[in-house]
């Protein structure tokens, strides 16, 4: 019944099936919405956060999705600035993924702060020394850039595009996309770095703190690299997931492998410096605080296995897999490496958020543990559901994949 709205020359499932799918996702979304209303009404006392864990799942989630959404700015940078034309096949998808990730992260942030009514203080009363201020400004600005990048795609919808004004608007926006891609790349580099800086400046938290050169430029670029080392491959994973779900071919493997190669290269550079960083931290910085590597870990929940999983299993291993052409060209291996890569980066963000504040520094204090509760899971789930909804609608009605028509003939 909504066939007229489809992009030219593509097939989509029946409206009934689509409605059922959307209803299924909406159920998750509504549950999260309920949790969000409870949180706004009663405050974040309803979450699992406490005096020791002021940061938890939400901040981890924010940092992780922002890293995973990095495919947008980096692919845009490569496509529009470095003119790697092949990336046009996937660039639309990276924009949508990026938009979902950033807008979702901003929504989570408004829940996470104790006084949402005052959220705008971040812009009006900024503390220029705070990394968080930098993050707030850059994320907001970059989110606007993503909106600007997303709008022409929406305007290319068949009916909308038939309105001349919108058609010309979309066209003009496309023409100037290189400019926005450049701004986006600039802003993103800043805030991805600042997100690392957020932890790197915590003088009182030896797990995250980095001194002097190791904070700037070192930690900043480590975070930028880690984000671009996973963002592109995350887009590939999203694309492949959509292909499996819809049974249609959307992007050719050559492009995916290219994205894998890009991510792999970045990840390799990242992991090389990350190893150096960790080594210097453990052998030089930590002893200066009187603490040892062993003291940074506790039991299973905060055990060393987390760090080894992050750096070796989900860092070194996927890096090697992605830069080795023979492995990368095997779809199964590419996706496996991609999944490991994304897990590794998320784990990194988790450790910097939670492990950092879990470590008891006062020698007479004890380890406390944190587990997110339903309210945090439900609202995080809401953001994921929101992503599914946006993506489903975009896929169904917007010409996201330029190759789709040819590949499914």
């Amino acid at each position: 019944m909504d066939r007229a709205l489809f992009p030219d020359g593509v097939e989509r499932c029946s409206f009934g099936k689509f409605a059922l799918w959307m209803a299924f996702i909406t159920a998750f979304f509504l549950f999260g919405l309920y949790a969000m209303i409870v949180i706004f009404a009663k405050g974040i006392v309803v979450t699992g956060l406490d005096n020791y864990f002021g940061f938890g799942l939400w901040i981890t989630f924010d940092l992780a999705v922002i890293a995973l959404g990095a495919g947008a700015f980096f692919t845009g940078f490569l496509k529009y600035i470095l003119k790697i034309d092949q990336l046009k096949n996937i660039i639309n998808l990276t924009v949508i993924v990026g938009f979902i990730c950033y807008s979702g992260a901003m929504l989570v942030l408004t829940m996470d702060i104790g006084q949402p009514i005052r959220a705008w203080f971040g812009y009006w009363h900024p503390n220029v020394h705070s990394m968080l201020t930098e993050v707030i400004f850059c994320i907001t600005c970059y989110c606007l850039v993503l909106v600007i990048e997303y709008v022409p795609l929406i305007l290319e919808q068949k009916q909308l595009n038939s309105i001349p004004f919108l058609h010309y608007l979309a066209h003009n926006m496309h023409v100037n996309m290189a400019l926005f891609a450049g701004i986006g790349a600039f802003l993103s580099t800043f805030h991805q770095g600042s997100l690392g800086g957020m932890y790197g400046v915590l003088q009182g938290r030896p797990y995250a703190f980095r001194d002097g050169f190791f904070i700037w430029p070192w930690t900043f670029f480590l975070f930028v690299l880690s984000a671009v080392g996973c963002g592109p491959i995350f887009t590939v994973l999203v694309c492949t997931f959509m292909e499996k779900l819809t049974g249609r071919k959307l992007v050719d493997y050559k492009t995916k492998a290219l994205m894998g190669k890009i991510a792999g290269t970045m990840l390799t550079v990242y992991i090389f410096f990350k190893l150096l960083d960790t080594w210097a931290w453990a052998y030089d910085y930590l002893p200066s605080t009187g603490m040892t590597f062993d003291q940074m870990f506790y039991g299973v929940i905060y055990g060393k296995w987390l760090m080894f999983t992050e750096i070796i299993l989900c860092g070194v291993v996927p890096a090697i897999m992605l830069i080795t052409p023979s492995i990368r060209n095997n779809p199964t291996m590419l996706y496996t490496a991609g999944i490991l890569d994304c897990i590794g980066i998320c784990l990194n963000r988790y450790l910097f958020t939670v492990q950092t504040i879990a470590i008891p520094l006062l020698p007479f204090d004890i380890w406390q543990t944190y587990a997110p509760n339903w309210a945090e899971w439900a609202t995080s789930g809401m953001i994921v559901a929101y992503g599914f909804l946006v993506m489903s609608l975009s896929y169904r009605y917007l010409p996201v994949f330029p190759q789709e028509r040819a590949m499914n003939k």
């Binding site: 405050g43 974040i44 006392v45 956060l49 406490d50 005096n51 020791y52 002021g54 940061f55 996470d112 702060i113 104790g114 006084q115 005052r118 959220a119 203080f121 971040g122 009363h125 900024p126 503390n127 020394h129 705070s130 990394m131 968080l132 201020t133 707030i136 957020m198 400046v201 915590l202 003088q203 009182g204 938290r205 030896p206 001194d211 002097g212 904070i215 930590l286 002893p287 200066s288 605080t289 009187g290 603490m291 040892t292 062993d294 003291q295 950092t356 504040i357 520094l361 006062l362 020698p363 007479f364 204090d365 406390q368």
Partner: protein
């Protein structure tokens, strides 16, 4: 050690807490709660959610009976010379700018992002998980010195800053110098109430104040000095095991409180 500079003030309020005199009776915590209008909590045993600007830790020498020893350590905000919490605040809800060197926390500005809590290794900062609802009538016994905070903002010990302001007004009224208060003219509630006088309070820079000398004593130390935050709260103990619990020594194995004044 860290790149940040320690901001100097002509007057630097500080505490010297004698751990050999603290019996852990809790009067300081009670007086603090009263002075700062902290509502009683239905489950005060849930220490992960309570607000205790002043918190008395129990220290143990970890020896088996009969050699076991304990000590009590009252922990207010350290009012660090190089605070970890101040530079991270995105909205300037906390600063260390005022003569006296007290780290402020401004509730109407705070947005409750809790970044400062993540930054403070002393757990001196607390988030208002719930609105301060007092049992019916008890709001009549609120102290005029501290505003009641809504839920969703961070708060912490400020050395009973309003008492500082009132002491200055008193000095002005009596023709004294509000910028050079006499020892004892300004006392936080905890120091005032302590029945064993374990908490000495004053201007660390003023030789006429007792804390000036006490902070330099051979048994004086600060918590986690190696992190370079330069707390303005000093502790004193003649017991070596107590001093050793003031910082981390696992990496070096050094005993005692080695000084890292800079």
């Amino acid at each position: 050690m860290s790149g940040h500079a320690v901001k100097e003030f002509k007057v630097t309020w500080g505490m010297v807490i004698d751990l050999d005199k603290c019996t852990g009776c809790g009067a300081c915590m009670t007086a603090c709660q009263v002075e700062n209008n902290i509502a009683p909590m239905a489950d005060a045993s849930n220490k992960m959610r309570t607000l205790s600007w002043m918190l008395v830790f129990e220290l143990s020498n970890k020896k088996a009976a009969p050699d076991a020893e304990i000590a009590y350590l009252p922990r207010p905000c350290m009012q660090c010379g190089n605070p970890a919490c101040v530079p991270v605040c995105p909205v300037v809800a906390t600063d260390k700018n005022e003569e006296g060197g007290i780290v402020s926390q401004i509730y109407p500005r705070c947005i409750g992002c809790r970044y400062c809590m993540a930054a403070c290794p002393y757990h001196a900062r607390y988030f208002n998980w719930e609105d301060p609802i007092f049992p019916k009538g008890m709001e009549k016994a609120l102290s005029p010195n501290t505003s009641a905070r809504p839920r969703g903002v961070v708060e912490k010990c400020n050395f009973c800053h309003t008492r500082f302001m009132k002491a200055k007004d008193k000095a002005r009224q009596e023709g004294g110098n509000p910028e050079a208060l006499a020892d004892g003219a300004y006392m936080p509630a905890c120091a005032e109430v302590c029945p064993t006088g374990a908490i000495t309070f004053g201007d660390l820079k003023n030789p006429e104040h007792k804390v000036h000398e006490l902070a330099k004593g051979e048994n004086a130390f600060r918590l986690l000095e190696k992190l370079g935050l330069h707390p303005q709260v000093y502790y004193v103990s003649k017991r070596e095991w107590v001093r050793k619990l003031g910082d981390n020594y696992a990496a070096t194995g050094h005993a005692g409180a080695e000084k890292k004044h800079s």
